[in-house]
Amino acid sequence: MRILCLGNDLLADDSLGSIVAEQIRQLAPPNVEVVSTAESGFHLLDYVLDTRCLVVVDTVVSGSAPPGTIYAFHDHELQVVPGGSPHYVGLNETLALARQLGLSVAEEVVFLAVEAADCLTLGAEVHPAVQEAIPRLLGMLRNLMHDGTPAVAAKDPATL
């Protein structure tokens, strides 16, 4: 199992990924690999290969929920690639591409995403509501590590 934490620690709420990575490393058993990176899109290819189960931690700014809201979902719950932005290669497209090319992609991919307030201000503090989400997120990750098999069949993150 690999926990892939995304985000740039220079950019306000975007620091979430690296903060979570640092904390979850202390708790992770030897069979769980923790990776933290500020890379994006197609550059994430290397991180989705050669593990059975991948958990992605990231921030989103959807504007449709208050900062600190946690979304949990499987990759197959996301929009299928066709019909997406023709230009952009995101993590979902990277996964689809890697699968189509027959690479050894994680069989199970779970996203834990936290609604952020600001990911564009250099050197700014993490929003208090986003900070408050961290212990809950760590709890969810602990459950995932404990089970070995992510149990995010339900969209409700409360099930974790």
Partner: protein, 514 residues
């Protein structure tokens, strides 16, 4: 838009006619990925008067770097941008050379350029196959469901896809061998590089470089087979839709040939004649930034020509950067096979300069060829393994400018420090700014063709998006990974800010009217 609101909208629409202008915003609602934001202003009759493209800018850069040692800049700036860290690292390192008045030894310069060429092969290849490919390899007229990375693979074949992935891996491993993590390069220092290239490392570079040249040849063949043999594509490149007659800017060597790492900045007129060639340190005499009251985007223009609004032609200071601009601004390519590809590019497209924005995809393949050949030249250079890779800075730092050609265009770093090398002020002009005005003109062309009155037609999202996508704008430095389609929101507004109607596409790809 719910039915019940329609009559209200019509009433508001009637009232809004009294206003001189209305305002439509196509606004990203997340930073998950492409951050394009499009502002469209309507005149009193509902016709598009002006449209502007903008990307959200990072805030607080000036404040963040003030008081930090200048030597941290190559690390800080490359960490800010997750898309092209190597370009920022290189521009910052060159700015430090200038700041400390130090000239790196020949081997150090060659190592830097070798790494930079390696990065270019990777970046241009990924762009051609996976980012530009959906519009170009698959085709803008293809059904939306096929215009994605999977459609590209369907067209070029799984084996080709695997070839690209394998090449990418080898190139990245080489960058890491010298520069540390690709996302956080650490090799550039004022006056040189941190690590010499051993003969063993040189051998690895030589092997991959030879394969990179073959890979470039293969890619050009793919382009010729898939694109050039299809007359529809060629006429699309030449179509008027995204054509603008502007100035072009790019870095050139002493023979006026394209160079990504070092040289002078050359600008040609819309007719293709040299307008000026200047040293990086003279950029402030030649480039100025225009600010519109409604936007935080700074639109670059040629200072001596002046800002004459969003207009093309020799009287308007608007210029363009990136692959097509670099080819237009130079007299040729410094390596033989790339030069052949360059000559064919212009003979097919009717001579220099080429004004068709969609030709950027082809220009990128020509540059990919040059980057691979240059990588091989440098890897084969016996001087590159010399042990002396650092000239120690001794002079008191003052100010420094570093310019490189990033894959997306001319990238400028400028720092001012105190005598201890502590940053007092920093100025960055990123590639996308160089294209901002021209992109706005393309978006405006598309918007004028599609929008008339307060209704927002469904197709407008993709067509307007295509207008700026052709420029490959770097969508800010916080672009991320999570899923789906580029979130966009078009808001139709009265001048006082009241929203008349909203069309929104979420990141799960669903479209809502509100």
């Amino acid at each position: 838009m719910p039915e019940g609101k329609k009559s209200t909208l019509q009433q508001q629409e009637g009232a809004a006619k009294a206003n001189a202008q209305r305002h439509i915003t196509i606004d990203p609602i997340t930073r998950l990925e492409g951050h394009g934001k499009v502002d469209i202003f309507l005149d009193g009759t509902g016709k598009v008067e002006r449209a502007y493209f903008q990307v959200p800018e990072l805030r607080g850069f000036e404040k963040f770097v003030q008081g930090r040692p200048a030597e941290e800049m190559p690390q800080i700036t490359s960490r800010i941008c997750g898309v092209c860290p190597t370009a920022h690292h290189m521009a910052a390192t060159k700015a430090l050379d200038d700041l400390y008045h130090v000239d790196p030894p020949p081997a150090a310069k060659k190592i830097r350029e070798l790494i930079y060429s390696t990065f270019y092969v990777e970046d241009h290849a990924l762009h051609f196959y996976f980012l530009g490919g959906p519009d170009f390899v698959v085709g803008p007229e293809a059904p939306a469901a096929q215009r994605n990375v999977l459609g590209v693979i369907a067209k070029v074949g799984v084996e080709t896809g695997k070839k690209v992935i394998a090449m990418r891996r080898r190139l990245r491993d080489l960058i890491a061998l010298v520069g540390g993590k690709v996302a956080h390069p650490v090799f550039g220092l004022p006056g040189g590089v941190a690590k010499r290239l051993t003969p063993e490392m040189q051998k690895q570079f030589q092997e991959v470089a030879a394969d990179a040249v073959n890979f470039a040849e293969f890619t050009l063949q793919v382009f010729e087979d898939v694109v050039l043999k299809n007359s529809d594509y060629v006429s699309l490149i030449l179509s008027d839709a995204y054509t603008h007659r502007t100035y072009y800017m790019g870095m050139v060597d002493d023979s006026n040939q394209v160079n990504f790492y070092d040289g002078s900045i050359r600008v040609v007129t819309p007719e293709g004649a040299e307008w000026k060639k200047f040293r990086p340190q003279e950029y402030l005499d030649n480039i100025a930034e225009h600010v519109e009251p409604w936007s935080y985007v700074k639109f670059c223009y040629l200072k001596p020509v002046g800002w004459k609004g969003f207009n093309e032609g020799a009287d308007s200071g608007i210029y363009s950067v990136a692959p097509l601009a670099r080819l237009n601004a130079a007299d040729g390519m410094a390596t033989p096979l790339a030069q052949q590809a360059y000559a064919k590019f212009y003979s097919t497209l009717g001579g220099k300069p080429v004004h068709n924005t969609l030709a950027n995809h082809w220009a990128r393949v020509v540059e990919l060829f040059y980057a691979a050949e240059r990588m091989k030249e440098l890897a084969d250079d016996p001087e590159i393994t010399e042990a002396n890779v650092r000239t120690l800075p001794k002079a008191t730092p003052t100010e420094g400018v570093g310019i490189v050609e990033a894959p997306r265009g001319t990238l400028i770093h400028h720092y001012w420090t105190d005598e201890r090398g502590i940053v007092k002020k920093a100025n960055l002009i990123v590639a996308t700014q160089g294209n901002a005005a021209r992109m706005a003109m393309s978006v405006e062309k598309a918007a004028k063709a599609l929008i008339s009155g307060p209704d927002i037609p469904e197709g407008v999202l993709n067509k307007v998006e295509m207008a700026f996508r052709a420029y490959d704008p770097c969508h800010g430095c916080a672009t991320h990974s999570l899923p789906g389609s580029m979130p966009l929101m078009i808001r139709l507004r009265r001048q006082n800010g009241d929203t008349l109607a909203t069309l929104r596409r979420d990141f799960n790809g669903s479209v809502h009217r509100e």
